[in-house]
């Protein structure tokens, strides 16, 4: 109706124009290349081993008695062939359950002949009907279908080997063994209780650090990080000294035993506290002061501001922290091993099955069971992450708390109480390490540090651990930060991204025990071309990086999410390749987080027990494993001493980190202080 516009629009009706296939930029191709490389790394170090483990859990072994036939000659000619199965039924010796076994199972054949004597002149023959099993004569494997004849003295050296099949038998036997499946309930309960306690305590602590002007914040920060510096089983040792049968203050438990749920929860709160604190502090630290000024302007009460500003902006951190803690507790092995007593937990069950009973298949079954809560955690985390948006822009104003006398005193009191709990347990450990023989000889000395005479690999373990931690920090930080940057900032490639994110989130769900066991199945397979790294420092580094991938990844992602999401668009419009933006802006801005990742990996490599317990070799014994082994062997004081060595090493590393961070902040983070 009104043709005032000078533009001639294309004539209607408008047909759809041809579809556009966007051209990928060089940057995109490079970024996809990186993502694929790191995905491949995660596939090899995580997905494939887990698959190997999963299939192991379904492989069953049993003695197939119908497949073996015997003939006997007591001097009066050969008897008719009779199957082992019919002999067994005659004798009623083994039930079907008895015949289920592991891959290593061996069954002596003389049991089927009640009147067998190795001194008798009787001759025996054995053969297999079909080729799907075998028997051993001494260590010689026999797998044909011929008759083999043995004198009675030799016949007692014949053992039947099981035949393998695929099925749910392992799971059936797991769920029909109350001693095993009760661990599920135990583990869930302990993890849930510990999570609630830890997250509440850590939130209070983080809140005090972020929002009050109390004194000694620096010291509190340091103390709160202490538990991360020691293996999770160290608080267990301290608790034994405090509340054990000969404990210093065991009266405080009013007759309850520390060996069991109480000990596990106390120790779990101790060792998960810093993990929760890091995440929650980050979440509280990124909040925008303008929101609080707005709240004050609106005359919102402190209480209302807390619930409408603080909690919503920190909720991602809180949920994330809860799932990290839950997983740490449910997957931890060291602590319940030391203080769990008769209270069975899933992670310890794996150890017992694999190391104690050499039942790898059942170990795999327990591992699979332990994986289920992990998948649950994963889906919750995905859900929460979708709701997360970048909350800090170039214009955000960092929050600066104002003095408030009463509130600051409450904070100081609260933090002091938590600090005393943490320092107390460590002090007890150090005391235990120095006492000659608790509780009979209380004189002090360094005899417990003479690790060469103990069962744990001596001082070599300690130096191996330092090597492992160093390599893990370097390799891990490079891989993790690069990977998280690529996946956060690349355009499109939605499928690749979500596949990568899935892989990056998985390690959080994978207990160390499970990962270690999976590595045995995958890397120890002679058919695997990567078999050569088995029993080297290399596999320990790879395993540790993968084990601690997720939290590092989340730290990096949290830092990257704070960057304005248009930075890449601006750089592209200025014809600058992404790697210039990466090195000029992303890395400098994220440097504190990058340093955090590397120190996180270092100290965890020093303290980890669970993943590496199945993987160390005599040449690569580790300090943390030595703590466990010495404790197991009853050398509790030397175990505490080695634990304290780990602690002091990590303290030094941590101080170094603090020093470097301070320096870095001064030079590259000047803009934050404005």
């Amino acid at each position: 109706m009104n043709q005032a516009s000078p533009i001639e629009l294309p004539a209607a009706p408008l047909a759809d124009a041809p579809l556009i296939k966007p051209k990928t930029s060089k940057d995109d191709r490079i970024m996809v290349g990186f993502i694929l490389m790191i995905s491949l790394y995660l596939l090899i170090t995580l997905a494939f081993p887990l698959y190997a483990m999963l299939s192991k859990s379904f492989s069953t072994f049993s003695f197939d008695l119908t497949n073996f036939e015997f003939q006997v000659n007591s001097g009066d000619g050969w008897s008719a062939a009779v199957s082992a199965d019919s002999l067994n039924r005659e004798l009623g010796k083994y039930t079907a359950d008895d015949l289920a076994t592991s891959s290593d199972g061996r069954l002596g054949v003389t049991d089927f002949f009640p009147d067998f004597s190795f001194r008798s002149p009787t001759l025996y023959r054995i053969r297999q009907i079909q080729l799907d099993s075998s028997f051993l004569f001494g260590s010689e494997r026999v797998a044909d279908t011929e008759w083999h004849e043995y004198g009675s003295n030799d016949f007692r050296r014949v053992v039947i080997r099981p035949s393998s099949s695929t099925g749910l038998a392992n799971y059936r036997s797991y769920f029909s063994t109350p001693a095993l499946f009760r661990s599920i309930e135990n583990s869930l309960l302990i993890a849930a209780i510990s999570t609630i306690i830890t997250v509440s305590l850590a939130f209070g602590f983080a809140y005090a650090l972020n929002r009050s002007t109390m004194r000694f914040k620096g010291i509190f920060r340091l103390i709160a990080m202490i538990p991360i510096l020691v293996p999770s089983l160290l608080p267990g040792i301290a608790l034994v000294y405090l509340f054990g049968n000969q404990g210093m203050i065991r009266g405080l438990l009013f007759g309850e035993s520390i060996y069991g749920p109480i000990g596990i929860v106390m120790g779990s709160v101790f060792f998960t506290f810093p993990h929760a604190l890091i995440i929650i502090t980050t979440a509280l630290g990124i909040s925008d002061a303008r929101l609080y000024e707005a709240a004050i302007a609106l005359r919102a009460s402190r209480w209302k501001t807390f619930w409408t500003v603080t909690i919503p902006s920190a909720r991602y951190g809180l949920i994330s922290a809860a799932f990290v803690v839950f997983n740490l507790v449910i997957t931890d092995f060291g602590l319940p091993k030391v203080i769990g007593g008769q209270y069975n937990m899933l992670a310890v069950d794996i150890y017992k099955q694999v190391i104690g009973q050499q039942n790898f298949e059942m170990g795999a079954v327990v591992s699979v069971v332990l994986l289920i809560p992990a998948l649950f955690a994963f889906s919750i985390d995905r859900f929460v992450q979708k709701k997360q948006v970048a909350s800090v822009s170039a214009r955000s104003v960092p929050y600066e708390p104002k003095p408030h006398r009463q509130f600051d005193w409450i904070c100081l009191g609260y933090c002091s109480a938590v600090a005393i709990f943490i320092v107390g347990l460590i002090a007890v450990c150090q005391y235990a390490a120095l006492i000659k023989f608790w509780p009979y000889n209380l004189s002090l000395g360094l005899s417990n540090y003479n690790f060469e005479v103990m069962d744990g690999g001596g001082w070599d373990s300690y130096w191996n651990s330092i090597q492992l931690a160093f390599y893990t920090a370097i390799v891990g930080t490079l891989v993790v930060f690069t990977g998280s940057y690529m996946v956060e900032k690349i355009n499109g490639f939605a499928t690749t991204r979500s596949a990568f994110q899935f892989l990056a989130m998985m390690p959080m769900a994978i207990p160390g025990m499970v990962l270690g066991l999976a590595y045995i199945f995958f890397f120890n397979d002679p058919a695997n071309p990567l078999n050569s790294i088995y029993a080297t420092m290399g596999i320990l580094v790879i395993c540790t990086v993968t084990h601690f991938y997720t939290v590092s990844h989340l730290t990096a992602v949290t830092a990257l999410k704070q960057m304005d999401r248009e930075f890449e668009a601006v750089a592209a419009s200025l014809k600058q390749p992404f790697h210039r933006l990466f090195s000029r802006v992303t890395v400098p801005v994220c440097l504190p987080s990058i340093l955090d990742i590397s120190i996180y990996l270092f100290v965890n490599a020093m303290t980890t027990v669970s993943a590496v317990i199945f993987l160390y070799s005599p040449d690569t014994t580790l300090a943390s494993v030595a703590v466990l082994n010495m404790d197991d062997a009853g050398d509790v004081a030397p175990a505490a001493a080695m634990g304290m060595m780990i602690f002091y090493t990590n303290v030094i590393a941590r101080l170094l980190h603090l020093f470097i961070t301070r320096k870095v902040v001064r030079t590259t983070q000047a803009w934050r202080k404005l």
């Binding site: 005032a4 124009a17 296939k21 051209k23 601006v570 592209a572």
Partner: protein
């Protein structure tokens, strides 16, 4: 008309040609076969309510979210499928996206640094740009040390540093307070004129669009409603949406009488020519400032007029008056209007001359060439 678009050139050259651009997010169609031509040196505004597709349109032009179908041609080259780095544009975002760890100078120099320019040349160019945006003293400050307006200008300088052929502005002023906004609006417009850089700005603020743009593209629900100069958009709206979205517009229910007339109740009024069928229900629209007061009306307003030709002059009753400084806004009613009212803007002089007061009646003219008729179902 062409002169007002590109004052320098006799026949403006098309710099940006967009043909049937469609962007789908899953099943949702954010842009539906949008076509547009932008002339060299022109300042274009995409204006529309939030969710109308204007930002999607801008991001497609930049290559940040490439369209599902349709083509974009810049300076004669088909850039439809190119990634942003292979296109020629500078961009300023609502958040400015200034690199927080780099000073203003380093931010501006970011795009210059690996272009084989000497250090001295870069320094000179940065100084020139700082001068250009009026912040010659702020080079060594970090973004956090600058005010919002200063940050915006540094972002603009950074976008202009590489002398792009196309400047894209994504709501660049909406994060600023009104006074700074008004000032910067003027400055940016002058700067754009001076540099002659073809500019596309996205905004939801009609005042911003009206004051800055050479032409405005009004968008709604993924399609372009109208393209035109600010005066055209304001004075000659194509659709009821445009009429309603930009400026004030009275809307009264009516019925089509002929191609050039319409009735409201039992009043017949001559209108602008339209294409609606006779007897169809319609929306009759007129801007408040287009209603002309003539003089005091009869005591009992609106009782005598019938379907006769009234010369578009009615006696209406004054229900309500609001003093708005330079003029009065008067609410007028006529029995034929039912529940509808007319808002009319009247000068202080007219009010004094006609001695108008609440409750009295007034004779007003609704000029036929200012009276639009739109299909009533159109919104």
């Amino acid at each position: 008309m062409t002169e007002s678009i590109a004052p320098a050139a006799q026949t403006p050259r098309v710099y940006l040609r967009i043909d049937r651009l469609t962007k789908k997010f899953g099943a949702f169609v954010a842009l539906d076969r949008v076509s547009l031509e932008v002339f060299e040196g022109e300042f274009i505004c995409f204006l529309g309510p939030s969710g109308c597709g204007k930002t999607t349109f801008l991001r497609a032009i930049a290559g940040l979210d490439i369209q599902t179908s349709g083509s974009v041609e810049q300076d004669g080259l088909d850039i439809s499928a190119l990634p942003p780095a292979e296109r020629d544009f500078g961009i300023v975002f609502q958040s400015y996206a200034l690199f927080p760890n780099l000073t203003s100078e380093r931010n501006i120099a970011f795009g210059l640094e690996n272009q084989k320019l000497g250090k001295a040349k870069i320094t000179a160019r940065v100084a020139e740009l700082l001068e250009l945006v009026g912040l010659p003293e702020q080079g060594d400050k970090y973004p956090a040390q600058l005010s919002g307006g200063q940050q915006q200008r540094i972002a603009l300088a950074r976008a202009l540093a590489t002398s792009p052929g196309l400047l894209l502005l994504d709501e660049p002023l909406s994060a600023l307070d009104a006074k700074v906004r008004g000032h910067l609006r003027h400055e940016m417009k002058l700067l754009q004129r001076r540099l002659g850089v073809t500019t596309v700005m996205v905004t939801h603020d009609q005042e911003e669009a009206l004051t800055m743009a050479d032409r405005i593209v009004v968008m709604n629900q993924g399609v372009i409603e109208q393209v035109g100069t600010p005066t055209e958009i304001y004075r000659e709206p194509d659709t009821l949406f445009v009429a309603d979205f930009i400026g004030e517009m009275n809307q009264v229910k009516g019925r089509v009488e002929s191609e050039t007339s319409v009735s409201i109740g039992d009043i017949r009024l001559a209108s602008r020519p339209h294409k609606l069928a006779q007897g169809a229900s319609a929306v009759v629209a007129i801007r408040p400032e287009d209603i002309i007061p003539h003089g005091a009306g009869a005591r009992s307003a609106g009782t005598t007029e019938t379907m006769a030709d009234t010369g578009n002059t009615l006696d209406m009753q004054i229900e309500n008056m609001e003093f708005l400084g330079s003029f009065w806004r008067v609410s007028l009613w006529h029995p034929g209007f039912g529940d509808d009212r007319l808002r009319a803007d009247m000068s202080i002089n007219a009010m004094r001359r006609l001695s108008i007061e609440e409750g009295s009646s007034i004779q007003v003219e609704l000029p036929a060439d200012r009276l639009w008729v739109f299909a009533s179902e159109s919104r």
